[in-house]
């Protein structure tokens, strides 16, 4: 594992901490709202995995691209997307980030470089590669960062994207959040190697990189290195971040297929208290950290109120935005 970086400054750490706290509080509330019936359909929480999102987000340039999965709330928030339209989208309201058309699994905010959440496992790896190719062609210096799960390493598009990205030296960073499970099946039960991403790196001529995904500093260090490498034209990286989701896979899944001790052990390694400890040890005072918690809670409350107050989408939007002309006409 990459060691925790010595050189990360206090401000960066505080930014990461704030991001993690905001993600956590928003998702905890989203979960409650799901049980209240306000969040409809499905939702996949990244509670426990926030350090990956935060560690990368602070290493990215504003114009870099993020591609993530249905478990994408953290990554979307971390790029600076406001909470209210995210919650409103989960509620299916007209002020939702996607006008209610996409839902929890497809959060996207092009203005923030959040280029989409993808709900078919593996699909976004080639798409992220394409964005990186575009940056390379346009010589824009942008980098694409693509997050996906351990289960995703077994699908074909993972393989195709990794190979083509290396051949093209595309500026893309592939980040496997190994949370140990696909939906309900432990990754080890269906994977030929122990480290689903890192043990595949050499198949693409890449270095295996494993990082403690619950340590924002450590994530940040490998992120900064990989992004710099991509930006310098040296090609892609594949990073495996070891982490855990505290809850179930989605919706009401209680995650009972996991041994209690395993859950307890990982919860003891919760990235947010760890970050708090580290900041305290580095001399940040309790009040500053408490203020972050309170501000985040207040932000969530405001966002929730806004989303609750938002109207349902108007029926007129049903048939808009299939085409670039704004409509959906397929005939004259």
């Amino acid at each position: 594992m990459a060691p925790a970086a010595p050189g990360i400054d206090r401000d960066t750490r505080l930014r990461m901490h704030r991001m993690m706290v905001e993600c956590r509080l928003l998702e905890e509330r989203a979960q409650e709202l799901f049980f209240e019936g306000l969040v409809r359909g499905t939702t996949h929480l990244g509670i426990g995995q926030e350090a990956v999102a935060a560690g990368f987000a602070v290493a990215m340039r504003d114009d870099d691209y993020t591609f993530c999965t249905y478990r994408g709330h953290n990554h979307t928030l971390a790029r600076g997307v406001p909470m209210a339209p995210i919650l409103a989208e989960l509620f299916g309201r007209s002020t939702g980030l996607l006008g209610g058309k996409g839902g929890s699994m497809h959060l996207t905010s092009v203005n923030h470089g959040a280029m989409g959440s993808y709900a078919i496992v593996g699909a976004h790896l080639p798409i992220a590669l394409g964005a990186a190719w575009s940056a390379q062609y346009r010589k824009s210096g942008q980098v694409a960062v693509c997050f996906f799960g351990d289960g995703t390493t077994n699908i074909g598009s993972f393989h195709e994207a990794l190979n083509m990205a290396v051949v093209w030296k595309a500026p893309v960073v592939f980040v496997c959040e190994n949370n140990q499970y696909m939906e309900y099946t432990p990754i080890g039960a269906v994977t030929a190697v122990a480290r689903p991403a890192a043990d595949r790196a050499s198949a693409y001529g890449l270095e295996p990189i494993v990082v403690d995904g619950n340590d924002a500093d450590a994530v940040h260090t490998v992120a900064a290195t990989a992004i710099a490498r991509a930006r310098a034209g040296e090609g892609p990286s594949l990073i495996e971040a070891l982490t855990y989701r505290h809850g179930g896979h989605s919706r009401a899944d209680p995650g009972k297929y996991r041994p209690d001790e395993e859950v307890a052990a990982w919860k003891a390694r919760d990235p947010i208290p760890a970050s708090r400890e580290r900041l305290l040890a580095a001399g940040v005072d309790e009040a500053t950290l408490d203020a972050i918690d309170e501000e985040a809670a207040a932000k969530v409350a405001v966002a929730e109120a806004e989303a609750r107050a938002a109207p349902e989408p108007s029926g007129e939007t049903l048939e808009t935005q299939v085409w670039a002309d704004g409509g959906s006409a397929w005939r004259n």
Binding site: G103, G156, M182, T317
Partner: protein
């Protein structure tokens, strides 16, 4: 007669057939220990063991390909694709390999296999987890396609699909999982290729499938009660083989056809039914042939929008009343 849900009818049919034939095996993602994300396969691992009920990696091409390879070498495998949208990931295996291999080898290779999948909308899952893909499968020669509308048919048609010597795509409608109904005692098998007349009627024919069947049936009751329109409702049950005779016989009687489909408008199965009747039933018609469909759009996730998109009982009633009225 026992009452059971559409959801439970799936495991009951698989159990019936696995008990009967040791060559029947089941694979898919999270189907074993977890019993499936929709709890469709609960209890099967315990009953039949890990050799017959196997969890797979997230590898739809390998799942479908392996099912094909097993079928051509003596097993009768069932593969589960968790959501029917994921057929797209394995479409080469389905459309180019499974559908064509018997023909290309002039009958040397037989493929007695089933691909089961959770199909359809209504659960606010958005555009990539709500599609009705029965029309994709219907357009590929070499695939049989089943889409039951109630628990007894779910059980009986799935059993028939497992026994069938050809590849069968079984569309299990997500919005029907909780629906209850009676299952006849004893071994229950419903032959493929036979539509069911859900309601007899004289004024118009409504052809529907899967989750649209209860809506069409309810619409027919309201048409009778509120508008004096006596509609005949046909549940296609299987798209391939198609019970064209049942449709043509009904239209011969009613002279008017409405189809109610959940898939997007263009190139849906409704167009095929209309085209069939517009050719072979033309002279019995006395009004335009009308398709009631989801618009030609991806499905939105917000509840109000999804409900607007998919044909509702209200829309069926309103359309039929208006179109029959116009045709007077």
């Amino acid at each position: 007669m026992a009452e059971l849900t559409y959801r439970a009818a799936i495991a009951s049919a698989i159990t019936q057939e696995m008990d009967r034939d040791p060559l029947v095996v089941l694979i898919g993602e999270d189907i074993g220990a977890a019993g499936g994300v929709f709890k469709l396969t609960e209890g099967l691992l315990d009953r039949f063991g890990p050799e017959r009920v196997r969890d797979t990696p997230i590898s739809e091409q390998a799942i479908v390909g392996a099912v094909m390879g097993a079928a051509m070498t003596g097993l009768r495998p069932i593969g589960e694709l968790m959501f029917s949208d994921f057929f797209a990931v394995a479409w080469d295996m389905v459309a180019n390999q499974i559908a064509k291999t018997r023909y290309m080898t002039d009958g040397q290779i037989a493929l007695p296999l089933v691909l089961r999948t959770a199909n359809g909308g209504g659960l606010r899952f958005g555009a990539q987890h709500s599609q009705s893909v029965e029309n994709w499968a219907m357009a590929i020669p070499g695939l049989k396609v089943v889409a039951p509308s109630n628990p007894a048919d779910m059980h009986g048609l799935l059993a028939a699909a497992i026994r069938d010597p050809d590849p069968v795509i079984v569309c299990e409608h997500k919005a029907l999982f909780a629906v209850k109904g009676d299952l006849p005692d004893g071994e229950h098998v419903v032959p493929l290729g036979q539509a069911a007349i859900v309601r007899e009627g004289a004024d118009c024919t409504i052809v529907a499938l899967a989750a649209m069947v209860p809506r069409a049936a309810e619409a027919a009751e309201r048409l009778a009660a509120d508008h004096g329109i006596d509609a005949e409702v046909i549940d296609l049950r299987t798209l391939i083989p198609l019970d064209a005779a049942a449709i043509l016989a009904s239209v011969a009687k009613t002279s008017r056809l409405f189809t109610v489909e959940e898939n997007p408008r263009v190139g849906g199965w409704g167009a095929e039914i209309v085209a069939l009747v517009a050719d072979e039933g033309f002279y019995s018609l006395d009004a335009p042939l009308v398709r009631i469909t989801t618009p030609h759009i991806p499905l939105p996730s917000a509840a109000v929008l999804e409900d607007l998109a998919i044909p509702t009982t209200d829309r069926i009633v309103e359309t039929i009343v208006r179109r029959l009225d116009e045709a007077k």
